[in-house]
Symmetry: C2
Subunit: 364 residues, 2 copies
Amino acid sequence: METFTVTVAEMPGKVYGQYREGEIMTTIKDIARISGYSIGTVSRVINNRADVSEEAREKISEIIRERGYQPNSNARKLKQVISSEVSIIVRGNKNVFFESILEEIQIIMRGYDENINVHFISETENEVATAVRTVSYIKPKGIIFLGGYIDNFRDEFSQINLPCVLVTTGAKDLGFENLSSFTTDYYDAGKYAVNKLLSYGHTRIGILGGYSADRSREHKNGKIIGAVEALDEKGITFDFDRDYEPCSYSAESGYEAAARLLGRSPDLTAVFAISDSIALGAIRALKDIGRRVPEDVSVIGFDGLTYAKYSIPRLATIRQDTATLAKKCVDDLLLRITYGGPAVHELIPYYEFIEGESVAPVRQ
Amino acid sequence: METFTVTVAEMPGKVYGQYREGEIMTTIKDIARISGYSIGTVSRVINNRADVSEEAREKISEIIRERGYQPNSNARKLKQVISSEVSIIVRGNKNVFFESILEEIQIIMRGYDENINVHFISETENEVATAVRTVSYIKPKGIIFLGGYIDNFRDEFSQINLPCVLVTTGAKDLGFENLSSFTTDYYDAGKYAVNKLLSYGHTRIGILGGYSADRSREHKNGKIIGAVEALDEKGITFDFDRDYEPCSYSAESGYEAAARLLGRSPDLTAVFAISDSIALGAIRALKDIGRRVPEDVSVIGFDGLTYAKYSIPRLATIRQDTATLAKKCVDDLLLRITYGGPAVHELIPYYEFIEGESVAPVRQ
DNA sequence: ACCGTTACCGTAAACGTTTCCATAGAATAA
DNA sequence: TTATTCTATGGAAACGTTTACGGTAACGGT
């Protein structure tokens, strides 16, 4: 089960040098010697402990400052057994939504004086296993995983007994008591998106996105289930074979998928793309095959990232609240790191429609 | 998979806990005890040293495997004094070009089995100081700095005596013998961009970008100097007050700057934006103020990142060779880490024009 | 029988911290 | 006064490794 492939990069082997020539390493010992105090006292000053006289604190701090001393983080972490960091695993290569969340997390963590430690991995299962192994090697205090469905990684995640937060649906079902999850209510939001299109009179609606070839109602992607449900409620049966085209979360992929979809189903008057990148690629594809947006085909995106505001036409989209998502993740993780407590699974009900020029009433 | 440590601020402070409850930490000692060999031998097995019998190697490896033992990286790094990582500092919040280089670096490093360690900082001077401090705290083997001009950070960089690579111009002038630099020949490329516009008959050309309020010929931004030079050679004197508008590297900023520029100089028939993001924002702004691209105003961007291919209109731009840049950076750094040697400063002559729909001949 | 190799392995010091424990002295309580 | 607590500090062990050093056993050559 667990193979001994220590993360290649961190494997012994090339060690380029011990001390660099001419490098003078100031240690806590030096500070102690210079200040006349003991190592213990210096350490207490560094860590802002109480049991230090004002005089000693002043003097030692002064010396630390003027020598530009920085405690050796490795020695520290060694003593503290687990590192002082939170690890974040980002799965998916160019997923703008995750990047956006990541950015929010960075900002929040900065406020909390927390260190984060990010691992970018691609979507192969193999890499998830490696990432989990690496993380167990780093020994972080907790983990945030941005990366979609983890059903296939039960084993990997079961090995981790650290507080862990996922930004994905379906984590609850796994039943690990150390995994929390926060996600926008994709089912509702997807339904909402398609209802928007329906309200403009569209009935021939296509869907773009969601890797999976699984086209049943049990499709794992909440946005798509919601979208189909919205159609259902209007008495429209969604034809997966005809009006659905899977693609990954990129403009490139959206471009190609849209071309295929509209080639196959030229009578579609609207498209729901499950990410903004996909939508933008789709819009370009539509133009290239001679369909006007929104006159001939309406396009609605998902995510609501800033760059959609500057496209031509401006993209209509469903905005997720990345700030709230990030905040929830961080808060839950830190709380559970410090105080333990049960994992939670929360569906964030917040999302909103962003007006755009890419959606218009259906033509008669 | 590459490990990627984003350090927000690795200063002492909150330490959340020692051992996590119920966590059993397997150490080299355990492996030694179980296997019946000594710690030293186990370590030699882990490190693939020669002086170990095949029998011992087998047996110990087996035990390591079945216990899922991972050597503690902190203890290791402590012994090895300097970490096994290369630090990358990325300055600038949403700079797509740097992100692109970063991605290339990741790929190359993966091939080299190297660990990287990324610090994102914003553009304030303060953060540069912090980053440098943090980096000296991490003790990497070398540093790659993606972040524009560093003239204001002489002091910070003078403290670092590690191999260091910058992707910026002007590093040579600083005279630090541990700083290499690689950059596209911005002067030439800027000149080339404007020559393209000139070749389409444009003479009233505006320039967008380059934070600085410094509008002299000594302007630090090579692209702009080159652009102005190209005009000069045609006998056109560039009027900085009228036809130049500074902005940062984002669509938002480009949008606003373009609106200001065209508001002030409505007779411009072409705009050179020093990044694609800026260009895209500008195109949107132009549309909003009722100017058609390219019929009324041509726009040429810079960088040549993929997403320009999917905009409407497709963006004409000057592509930099990020792959080569990244390769040069990494190679130089690793070489100097291993063998020392002098720093180099290289201007990459490679750039190319990417056709697009945003540039057209000037209207009569 | 002796010596010199060689192959393998154990011991222990060291890396730079943190923290527990002990203690000296000061302050307080009796 | 003495006994007690408190404050500030030093000393030293420990964290999990790596590695220099030394030792043992086996073996071949003389």
